[in-house]
Symmetry: C2
Subunit: 447 residues, 2 copies
């Protein structure tokens, strides 16, 4: 049982980094408080499955206090941290202040629009359960509205889905959307054919999955094309408007636009008053503490740290987990009178899923693509759902979906309108498309 | 395959009645259009499990077009029917008009506040998935806010949950809330003890489950009390305000109020221009058609029909299913040149669940209570989930919950505030409680 003389560790954020720190700290003589804006931990690697109606939110989200309930020295509070008083070692929430001896800031990141926040209503990103439900709503609703439009004799509406950003999230979303439109929904409509919808993936750089080796990027692109995705690399988005994405002078029609292009660190990084990188990440010391405050640590997507080769550690779950564990160990060592150790990331490899039986895996010099990579991805992710009682359920659901091509959670909840819809239904505007675009032929963009 | 010369049957509403009618009609030479405001059918008998975080929405909701996809002569449209032009046989939606030869109105019912719609924001009812998520949000959030309040040293807040209405829904909600607070949540908080929360069930009539035999009502009341519910019968609610329910001059404090007291038929009943009963139900002919329009039928909760004993058929799934099937048969007979038949309800018995291993069952003269009734309830309801691919998943989840007392879907989504909260946190007001109330002693209501 905790007592009041033990040092108090405050952990802000119950993502992979914060939760791992809490679990590992529980064995030391400290009192731990975990604060999060949500009452649940989200298993982010499967968020795209919620967004594409494969599984329900409850299956990839578990209440933080349930996960941590067996640890007597951990207290969980629902609340939003607004800022810190680092001198007096106090975190400020709207309703209360929490004093700490050690602070671990694991507030993560959210999507960013390169300074164009006005694009967000037209192009939602995918970082939270709410985001996933909004994407699910828009995708399913687009098909429903097109069916109703066609059934009323007003003609066909071309359903184009544009995914902006060719990183892991964009690739997952585009691949799964293609799968849905070609399989799960293919035979359920009477007036439209979902297989005629177009899935376009736009990537600003020269290749998709830029964090992976070049051969895997090429393989991912081929796998995407095989699933039915139109991949356009070296294509910078210059604007988003209802029913369209602008690429230079070209206007790509879009029933639904999804945003997977930019990441911005939590604004809590700024409130620490220490140097940040351009994405708002905190430039941490080698032990993950911040300059000038040895008792304050930053872990996960909010931390900017280079590996031994000078490369910035990516914002992925394994990095956050290892950083959380390392910070717990350092605090534990310190309260036991031992010295801290610097953090070093152990890269066990990277996996990115693309769609049905499609994925890439990179473990050092071993590069795998296709079904074997996809199976690896599946097993690793179900393995890491440990701690979630839903692992069995998710496995059954997955196996079922794989065999039948069905999607289990196709609910449209909330608003029954789409921001793009009025424009899609309107008589076609005179094309503002230019033939001079190097990255898109007029053929591929005309309807 | 359907052809244009076949009679067109329009079904409004994809609940039990509408869906059953569509399935049974599919075998006849007719073209069928099913219109619903939602893209999914809701298995309403398990809604209370979503409201109490036991299962996810996706597990009791299936897309209408997925359920009906194998029937070529059925078209499914998402849309809200606003009214009818009965003379010209046209249904009016916002976006289109649908002509019909036969019309089946199966638009169901919603909760009613006895003319006090202003109570709704303080006391949500339970008819839709959205309702269930709102109740879940409020219940879980109440515990979270109380924990945060206590953790900040501002003292304990008494968490009272008041359920208004002692019919099947109120009984389920109260029983399950008691179970959650005494088991699932009992050991997860550090500053509050969820077992100290109070669950109060208010019923205006002299007994709970008034649709059942008296001995079963008494049994249900005992079972509720054993689960930890405070049952108050003959207690009319005279007002609802933030953080309180008014019963005469007595003010019952309430962190969360749930409404399970009144039912009002869909406003589409009124638009048919035929006589309604006091709850807005359509007084149908013995073949479920409406006076003056043989081609228009009303089935399910929107229809008012008496059984052979002159008793109004209750608004439950078996009635809606049988009415939907009977209407399909009558339309089928008519298009084949045969005469219609009057509808007669075959009562196979009633089951009401109360909570963990607690239920009542009434099959003619056979009355069962407790564990056996609960098992019957479980098997009947899982059996009727047929058509839902999630039956296996729901069973596993249920078995797991039963063994571990865990709740699988404890997500707080949406707004992070409670309408009652400011009042609960505020310094206690001088009591406006009267000692002269016959149905509540001052002891039982004072905090």
């Amino acid at each position: 049982m905790p007592n009041k003389t033990m040092p108090r560790v405050l952990i802000v954020g119950a993502g992979f980094g914060g939760l791992q720190a809490a679990r590992r700290l529980a064995r030391y003589p400290v009192r731990i408080t975990v604060v999060d804006q949500r009452n649940y931990h989200t298993f982010q690697p499967l968020l795209y499955q919620v967004a594409t109606a494969g599984i329900s939110p409850g299956e990839i989200a578990a209440p933080v206090r349930q996960i941590l309930r067996s640890q007597d020295n951990i207290e969980v509070l629902l609340g939003e941290v607004l800022g810190f008083d680092l001198e007096n070692r106090v975190a400020k929430l709207a309703e209360l202040e929490i004093a700490y001896d050690y602070l671990i800031v694991a507030a993560g990141a959210s999507h960013a629009y390169f300074g164009h926040d006005e694009w967000e209503p037209m192009a939602p990103g995918l970082k939270t359960i709410e985001d996933a439900l909004e994407i699910r709503r828009r995708v399913l609703l687009a098909f429903e509205l097109a069916e109703r439009h066609a059934a009323s004799g007003e003609g066909q509406i071309q359903l184009d889905f544009v995914v902006v950003g060719g990183g892991p999230t964009g690739v997952e979303l585009a691949g799964t959307l293609a799968e849905i439109s070609r399989h799960a929904l293919a035979h359920e409509f009477r007036s439209i054919d979902p297989r005629h919808s177009r899935i376009v993936l736009l990537e600003g750089g020269p290749r998709v999955l830029p964090g992976y080796a070049e051969d895997l990027s090429r393989s991912a692109e081929r796998q995407l094309q095989r699933l039915g995705v139109e991949v356009r690399t070296s294509t910078m988005v210059t604007g988003v408007e209802p029913a369209a994405v602008l690429v230079g002078n070209t206007r790509l029609p879009a029933a639904v636009v999804l945003w997977a292009a930019g990441v911005a660190a939590s604004r809590l990084g700024k409130s620490l008053g220490v140097p940040l990188d351009r994405a708002g990440r905190v430039l941490v010391n080698p032990d993950l503490s911040i300059p000038g405050h040895r008792e304050v640590f930053v872990v996960g997507d909010l931390a900017a740290l280079q590996d031994r080769n000078g490369k910035l550690l990516p914002g992925v779950a394994p990095v956050a987990l290892q950083e959380g564990a390392a910070t717990a160990r350092n605090i534990g060592r310190e309260v036991q009178g031992k010295a801290r150790e610097d953090f070093h990331y152990l890269d066990k490899g990277s996996l990115a899923t693309i769609g049905r039986a499609a994925a890439v895996a990179q473990m050092g010099k071993i590069h795998i693509s296709g079904f074997v990579a996809w199976l690896s991805w599946l097993f690793v992710h179900i393995f890491f759902l440990i701690g979630f009682r839903n692992r069995l359920l998710v496995m059954i659901q997955w196996a079922w979906s794989y065999i039948t091509y069905e999607r289990g959670a196709r609910l449209i909840t909330g608003d029954q309108t789409l921001p793009s819809w009025e424009r899609l239904r309107a008589p076609k505007e005179p094309a503002r498309e230019s033939a001079a675009q190097p990255m898109a032929t007029p053929d591929s963009i005309s309807r």
